[in-house]
């Protein structure tokens, strides 16, 4: 994440208050707050017009909500603010909410009246807390939406359209969507014939990331599974444009037909809207909960929004199976990127 805009301050008084603010935490002054509120209003306007209703969830949550099977990756769990509260004698740790999606899933699941077939559309604006080893932001104002009950590709198409509309309404130009698919990487790993622990290890290394690591994994996997070598290299090392790339991946990895069909639907939605998109199928980010399409939107060179499909999460926390997907962005970042007139 980038540094927040800080307003001019008096160096002498800054010295007086040194040590009175926790590392990675920042005040939001009046000017920045005005921009924040304008961006927030625009976010709520656009999402509410699309049928999304706002919710807010607790700041303090039990850690095990986030360790629930396949929820957050160990890499992200390493970065949560966790502590023992007054009930901590039970050994149950609490966290400052590191992500808004799981609490939203829990809220959806807690609504006894919600009928399974009916899509539910939720939005939120609230802070999340994650350690950053350096001086980066540790409190992020996350704005996002969750869409329950609409499967791929319809749900994906709706979210991509909404993301595009939101960013355009904020006045962000030069939008480019990077698309990936969690199922594609998993199908490729399964096709290597590695045992489940080996597949998890490879997935961890890809998530832990860096291009070198991804290349190394690609090389090792290709060596272990020569008949899949072309497909794996295509997937892990090469970024693609539109249709032709997907045709090539499908030819090399026939077991990945379903994820490829979902990616095709996403690509055609974006092409129809005249929005540029890239395919980087191995890009996942540190959320293990994704099961389908994942996407990242760049405005110019700035990444400003992340999203994806997580169809198995409701079940993982003990709820009913429900197709689900969502996206989230750092609202302060959006406010800083939005031209003053547009936001």
């Amino acid at each position: 994440m980038t540094e927040p805009e800080t307003e001019a301050s008096n160096p002498a008084s800054a010295g007086r208050t040194e040590g009175l603010r926790s590392r990675g935490m920042h005040d939001i002054g009046p000017d920045q707050m005005r921009r924040f509120r304008r961006a927030e209003a625009r976010f709520l306007e656009v999402t509410s017009a699309a049928g999304y209703q706002e919710i807010r969830t607790p700041t303090v949550e039990p850690l095990h909500l986030f360790t629930s099977a396949g929820a957050l990756s160990p890499q992200l769990l390493d970065r949560v603010y966790s502590f023992l509260d007054w009930d901590g004698w039970s050994g149950e740790r609490m966290v400052l909410r590191p992500d808004s999606t799981l609490p939203a899933v829990r809220w959806f699941e807690s609504q006894a009246g919600a009928s399974v077939g009916e899509p539910a559309r939720l939005s939120y604006v609230q802070p999340v807390y994650r350690f950053d080893a350096g001086d980066g932001e540790r409190e992020l104002w996350q704005c996002g939406v969750e869409l329950f009950g609409l499967a791929a590709p319809e749900g994906d198409v709706e979210l991509l359209g909404l993301a595009r509309e939101l960013l355009s309404a904020l006045g962000l130009g030069e939008l480019r969507f990077e698309l990936a698919h969690a199922g594609l990487l998993r199908a490729a790993l399964a096709a290597t014939g590695l045992d489940p622990a080996g597949q998890i290890e490879a997935l961890d290394r890809v998530i832990e990331g860096g291009e070198d690591a991804v290349e190394a994994v690609a090389g090792e996997l290709a060596a272990a599974s020569p008949e899949r070598a072309t497909g794996l290299r295509l997937l892990l090392e090469i970024r693609g444009g539109a249709g032709g790339y997907l045709d090539n991946v499908e030819a090399a990895l026939p077991e990945a037909a379903q994820p490829i069909a979902e990616l095709r639907a996403a690509v055609s939605t974006l092409e129809e809207a005249g929005v540029a998109c890239d395919l980087a199928p191995a890009a996942g980010g540190s959320f293990e909960y994704y099961t389908g399409l994942t996407f990242r939107v760049l405005a110019g060179n700035e990444a400003c929004l992340l999203g994806g499909r997580y169809d198995r999460m409701a079940e993982a926390i003990g709820g009913r199976p429900a197709p689900a997907s969502g996206f989230a962005a750092d609202l302060l970042r959006l406010a800083a990127l939005a031209p003053e007139a547009a936001s």
Binding site: W89, R93, A197
Partner: protein
């Protein structure tokens, strides 16, 4: 002055020998002196301070010491939770090779642990434990941090333990087999390691100490190389979630916890004056499971520090511990369902704030003003084994900006160099006087006591608890 932190305990004798051979002879350290600070022969710019192994990483990370030698597990325990850029491991040494393993009762697999809701894991290394369980994809765990003997908890009181065992697989297997445990996964391995404070390395000339310390024999790769984190097999669900522990199930057995270590002598006396005696407790050897001779009455020996939590978790109906440990537990967890049932009136001592005799103050407020006379923003360092009590004290006495330094024993050596205040116990004050310290503020007078759940156990267990408490109370009246 270059400040070097060295470990006491098992590493001390073999390390002292290697230090001398490397030209870094620390006279009293070799001899096992009870002092805390030592000069180094022929190296006037170096001072050595002895700490418990687990206290060394935080001291070096804070920059209070420039260099240190301690077990890799304690370094990793700090780094697992706090990815500090201030602590730099420099070199593994050829001694103290150990590994931390996740061990469970024989026959219990990782799949089964992963499928158990709220799986309970005891450990002295909670940060490494949580990290390993995340990487092993155990979805719903409770890490219980204990003061010692995590292996004593399974199978009755925990599902698994994460504990330190020898590197050698056969030796480790033998240690675990005695407890009825087997390795499920390796969590960490490493040997004694030389660490440095990064800022000190970057800006100060440490050669007078660093030269000989870098000449210490290096560890072999197998013992010292960082291992990849353990990985789960990614399978979740599909298995019955059957907890292997039994104590908090609906049981008919009455369970009593007795303390080991220093507390044992006073406990044996308290039991004797209540007309109670358990075979295998206080009669020479201490067994993990002393015998009551009564059907449906189990006795188990654990650390007194861990008893309030064990009672709160429902593992025991009655436990004999110190009121200090109960107060420390309640300071951390005010809602914990554990209560004092009876004061045993033995093991009497005062717990309070200890400062150097030289501090010209009569009250803690005056002492704070004196420490801050030149720098009003100076943080006050409070060192204590009783972390939650120390934190509570610092808030209650309005210390302003403060740091609580968790330590494990040998606390007299901490002030004035490494902390301003100790939260510490004293029976007669003689140890404090010998170290030119005094208690400026009394927090509590502690004695030993019987504790139990705030809710009386049902049926015969409740009646037995009432009876034992009544006998202990009568015995204590004679003190």
């Amino acid at each position: 002055m270059i400040r070097v932190a060295l470990p006491r305990g098992d590493l001390r004798a073999p390390l002292a020998e290697r230090l001398r051979a490397a030209g870094f002879a620390v006279e009293g350290y070799e001899g096992g002196s009870r002092a805390y600070r030592f000069p180094v022969e022929g190296r006037p710019g170096v001072v050595v301070r002895v700490f418990a192994e687990e206290d060394i990483p935080i001291q070096v990370a804070l920059g209070q010491y420039d260099l240190g030698i301690t077990s890799r597990a304690w370094i990793d325990e700090l780094l697992a939770r706090y990815p500090l850029d201030s602590l730099t491991p420099l070199r593994p040494l050829d001694l103290g090779g150990r590994r931390l393993v996740l061990a469970a009762p024989e026959g219990v697999t990782l799949d089964r642990l992963a499928a158990t809701p709220g799986v309970r894991v005891t450990t002295t290394h909670p940060n490494l434990a949580a990290r390993a369980l995340n990487y092993l994809r155990v979805p719903d765990y409770r890490v219980i941090e204990v003061w010692g003997q995590p292996e004593a908890w399974p199978p009755e009181d925990a599902d698994a333990a994460i504990l330190s065992v020898p590197l050698d697989a056969a030796a480790a297997g033998a240690v675990l087999a005695r407890e009825g445990l087997a390795v499920v996964a390796e969590v960490q391995r490493g040997s004694a390691t030389l660490v440095a404070n990064r800022d000190a390395l970057a800006s100060r000339d440490l050669a007078e100490a660093l030269g000989p310390l870098l000449a210490l024999p290096a560890g072999d790769r197998d013992a010292s190389e960082a291992r990849p984190l353990p990985r789960g097999n990614g399978r979740t669900g599909g298995l019955e979630g059957i907890a292997s522990r039994t104590s908090d199930n609906d049981r008919g057995v009455f369970r009593l916890a007795l303390p080991d270590g220093h507390a044992q002598r006073h406990t044996v006396e308290a039991l004797a004056s209540a007309g109670l005696r358990f075979e295998g407790y206080g009669d020479g050897a201490t067994d993990r499971h002393p015998r009551s001779g009564i059907e449906g009455f189990e006795v188990k020996v654990i650390r007194p520090q861990d008893m309030p939590q064990a009672v709160a978790l429902g593992c025991f109906d009655l436990a004999l511990t110190g009121r200090d440990w109960l107060a420390a537990h309640r300071a951390a967890f005010p809602l914990s369902p554990v209560a004092e049932l009876c004061d045993l009136r033995r093991s009497r001592y005062r717990l309070g704030a200890v400062v150097p005799e030289a501090v010209p103050a009569e009250t803690i407020a005056e002492a704070i003003a004196w420490w801050r006379r030149d720098d009003p923003k100076r943080p006050i360092r409070v060192a204590s084994e009783y972390v939650a009590l120390a934190d509570h004290y610092a808030r209650e006495r309005h210390l302003g900006r403060y740091q609580v330094l968790p330590i494990s024993g040998a606390s007299e050596g901490f002030v004035p160099d490494d902390a301003e205040i100790l939260i510490e116990g004293t029976e007669t004050g003689s140890t404090l006087r010998a170290n030119r310290l005094r208690m400026i503020d009394v927090i509590m007078e502690s004695t030993n006591c019987a504790i139990g759940s705030t809710e009386r156990p049902p049926g015969a267990r409740g009646e037995l608890r009432d009876d034992l408490v009544e006998r202990l109370r009568a015995g204590a009246a004679e003190v």
